[in-house]
Assembly symmetry: C2
Homo-oligomer: 521 residues x 2
């Protein structure tokens, strides 16, 4: 009989991570409040609060004491595997947790605490100025803050000193192991084919949903029906409104999401709700039932692309499907929408109409929005594009790729929140998310067939009969629980048996255009 | 010429206090979120977050380093007054700040950090269990948490080891220098006269407002009109709903207040808004334009009784006045209220009808609600009243003093949030607030007369002509800016020229009963 060595060092490390997680989730709570409740003039004080927490967090995450805790836990773990105390899976999980903690620590240690504090202040300030600049269409009043954020991020990349380019280094927290070269490979077929596909549908008539609208309260009610059909648990979730919809986890039993009402776009709030709910489902499905696990890397999301794949799945594969509209349109009629069939709603859900706004974009032009942002932020970070030239570059690329030109910076380069908070390297995750969602959907179809779900399109069969719970079960088993055990591309390879590619996504678009085209002719 | 000595130690102390204030306001933000947005199952994690912050705050507020900062700033200050560098007012302010910091520090130092952490957890847990118990009318499921909170508070009082009784010690943070003996003196005339006054009105007919209601949105709109007429600045204030209305300051430019909709009580939301706005105006008027000042004791509210006097002033002296109803009733008519005159609204605003609910109580029976709570919490803390006997004691005192008996603990001893968060010693502040509000109102009348405002009742004259800004100006000058420079009773003495007493409040009630009685006959 083997004497069990109590994992004391492992527990000490867990307790430390738990407290870090508490602080991190306090930071998230301040962010939630900033975007949902805070009056505008609260921004400056909030910036100071966030800066204080960021400094505390950075100190914790880069401290000598933390390093010792990791070292001790690692040594203890190595001793325990020697004597065969842990089963293989458990041992692999621990090894991966240690590996990720060491990686994160080494990054944190390289950063100057003053830079962390300066970034926190610059983010709060940038966000505030962006809000004002957007509402007044004054890019110039936001430009200095953006320049400041770019300078600070470049400095961050310099301090991190990784074997990657500047932009790649900044993209790592969102998309581990991503390189510009791999991005170019994955996006090349999209650059090639999306503009041509868009040309095919450019002559289609304006969707009917641009001609009617719904009251804010009615839109909210429809979202409530949706989330209720999707078994939202009100004990652990809360909803609110914010200028830019988002989803955030504030504790192991505390999931928040926001939506917004866009005048003249009666489906925007509904689609945003489905999207953010997809994010939230991923977080709810991470392996953090116990507080202990929540604190460890494996309990965290593996990448933002995988995150986006989950939100896009619920938004596009489910809510924008024909089957969903056929089932759900009576709710919209009762809410006052002038629809005469499920087909009407389906058409309204899928305008396939190039526009200037990313969040409101259809599935076809969405990729082009991302290609523009990705190119521009790499140019800003790596190729010397000056901030003052951003509006011009933005507008000319929109003209070139989407055939449209923004009439103002508010509907142009000021539309997104990301850069105002110094997030560079995030945008590609959205498009990678489309690719992953499409590829996972194919695998899910196979999985559903194995369960005996009939039809050419088993997803559609489930949606028709309000059995989205089966889709969720598949994701809960195949995708959600892994967390940072594997990176996004490896997860896709493992689940789908193929490397990530744009094929499934482009196939899906082809078929959708065909179907919509048939019906509209 | 005197060489100026830069106040370096003073600045160091100020920086330290500033950071303490940042942490404290983070704690307040978590509290705000807990009561407005957080899903129920978030409570346990929130409790851990609050406990962590409470521990950090206590460590800061009781640290050796903090003590040294105070000592050094005090020594520097004493040197500077020696050489006459500060004018008298400035020097007095600094002296008072030092005195209060030393007092607060000596209290914090006596507390065991483990007790602080245990209290934070018990408060969060108590709040959660209270919510459940209240919704299910199950006092027993809350009782153990209440017992725990009482035990912890008694332990806190023991550790503080002040020259005061246990309950008095706990009441100090709310009402500095208060004693049970002084409370008995102040409340004796109320104990004596309120039940008799209530008997006078007991036969009056049920107010009409019990027979109609307004939609939630319409009630919110009326509140918005009110706050807009009172010059609410949306840049620095935000509104929300919560189960129990409250007002809280989250930063020097960030003031929040909540209200609630009570079905069947169409004026409840409106009156709660006026009440909480009064709290917020006091906080907005404290001397903390600069962040520096916000961090110092003189920038803080002097007592909860003074705080309540400000909320009660706007609720009772303004909104419940005849002049306000005469002016505002058309808004209620447009909102759908079945009123035929301002007099109708005034009657509805002033039901003078004993009820079971403190927050919804009229001005006459309000005091009785407080006397019951004050007696019971002193009994719980000092005289061995057992928690299990609380519902019985509560109900029998309601029968005795108000002639009514709660049908459930939900409308009985579970109605208030305070004890669920371990707040003992707070309730008397509400009634003291009534006394202070009445006495300040008399002084304000004199002040307005000096400004040339005509009429027997200059307050009424201002309200009739929508000039509440004059009332606010008086408060901004005479009451708000002092903060902790003086305690509540000394402030009242200074502003009104008389010691605090119940006379003004009872005179006001007498006159109101007379007026309402005349009109109703």
């Amino acid at each position: 009989m083997i004497l069990k060595v109590p994992a004391l060092a492992w527990k000490r490390l867990g307790d430390y991570l738990h407290e870090t997680q508490l602080l991190g989730s306090i930071q998230s709570t301040l962010y939630w409040d900033q975007n949902t409740n805070m009056p505008p003039s609260g921004a400056s004080w909030r910036g100071e609060q966030l800066s204080l927490l960021a400094t505390q967090l950075h100190a914790r995450q880069s401290s000598k004491y933390f390093e010792e805790l990791i070292d001790e836990a690692k040594a203890e773990f190595e001793r325990s595997t020697d004597i065969g105390e842990l089963d293989v899976n458990h041992a692999n999980d621990r090894r991966r947790n240690i590996e990720l903690l060491e990686q994160d620590l080494s990054r944190q240690k390289r950063l100057d605490p003053q830079l962390i504090a300066a970034l926190a202040v610059a983010k709060a300030e940038g966000y505030k100025l962006w809000q004002e600049a957007k509402s007044k269409n004054q890019f110039n009043s936001f430009a200095p803050a953006l320049s400041k954020l770019i300078a600070l991020r470049k400095e961050q990349s310099r301090q991190l000193n990784e074997d990657r380019s500047c932009w790649e280094t900044l993209a790592q927290p969102f998309e581990p192991d991503l390189s510009i070269q791999r991005l170019d490979e994955l996006f090349a077929p999209l650059r090639d084919r999306l503009p041509a596909l868009l040309d095919n549908v450019r002559s289609w008539e304006l969707p009917e949903s641009n001609k009617w609208d719904l009251d804010a309260q009615v839109q909210q009610d429809l979202c409530d029906i949706l989330l209720s059909e999707w078994d939202r648990d009100a004990l652990i979730t809360a909803l609110a409104r914010s200028p830019h919809p988002f989803s955030i986890t504030l504790g192991p039993q505390d999931f928040r999401l926001t939506t917004r009402i866009v005048p003249g776009q009666p489906l925007s709030c509904f689609l945003a709700t489905a999207h953010e709910w997809g994010h939230s489902l991923y977080e709810q499905g991470l392996n953090f039932e116990s507080h202990q696990w929540f604190a460890w890397p494996l309990g965290q999301a593996t990448s933002m692309a995988l995150h986006e794949s989950q939100s896009l799945f619920w938004e596009n594969r489910v809510v924008r499907s024909k089957e969903f509209s056929e089932r759900f349109w009576p709710h919209f009629v009762r809410a006052g929408a002038p629809l005469t069939s499920g087909h009407d709603l389906w058409r309204a859900m899928n305008p396939l109409m190039p526009g200037l706004n990313r969040v409101e974009a259809d599935e076809l032009s969405y990729g082009l929005h991302i290609l523009i942002r990705t190119d521009l932020e790499i140019a800003l970070i790596e190729d010397g594009l000056e901030v003052k030239d951003l509006p011009y570059e933005w507008n000319s690329r929109y003209k070139e790729l989407l055939g449209l030109e923004p009439k103002s910076d508010t509907e142009g380069c000021l539309q997104d929140v990301h850069w105002s908070e110094g997030q560079f390297g995030y945008f590609p995750s959205y498009l990678l998310g489309h690719l992953i969602s499409a590829q996972l959907s194919e695998a899910m179809s196979d999985g559903l067939r194995d369960l005996g779900i009939q039809g050419k399109d088993p997803l559609g069969t489930c949606i028709s009969s309000a059995k989205e719970s089966l889709l969720l079960s598949w994701l809960r088993k195949e995708v959600h629980p892994y967390g940072r055990k594997v990176n996004a591309e490896d997860l896709v390879q493992e689940v789908t048996g193929k490397p990530l590619a744009s094929t499934a996504f482009l196939d899906y678009l082809d078929e959708k255009i065909l179907l919509l085209g048939q019906k509209s002719s």
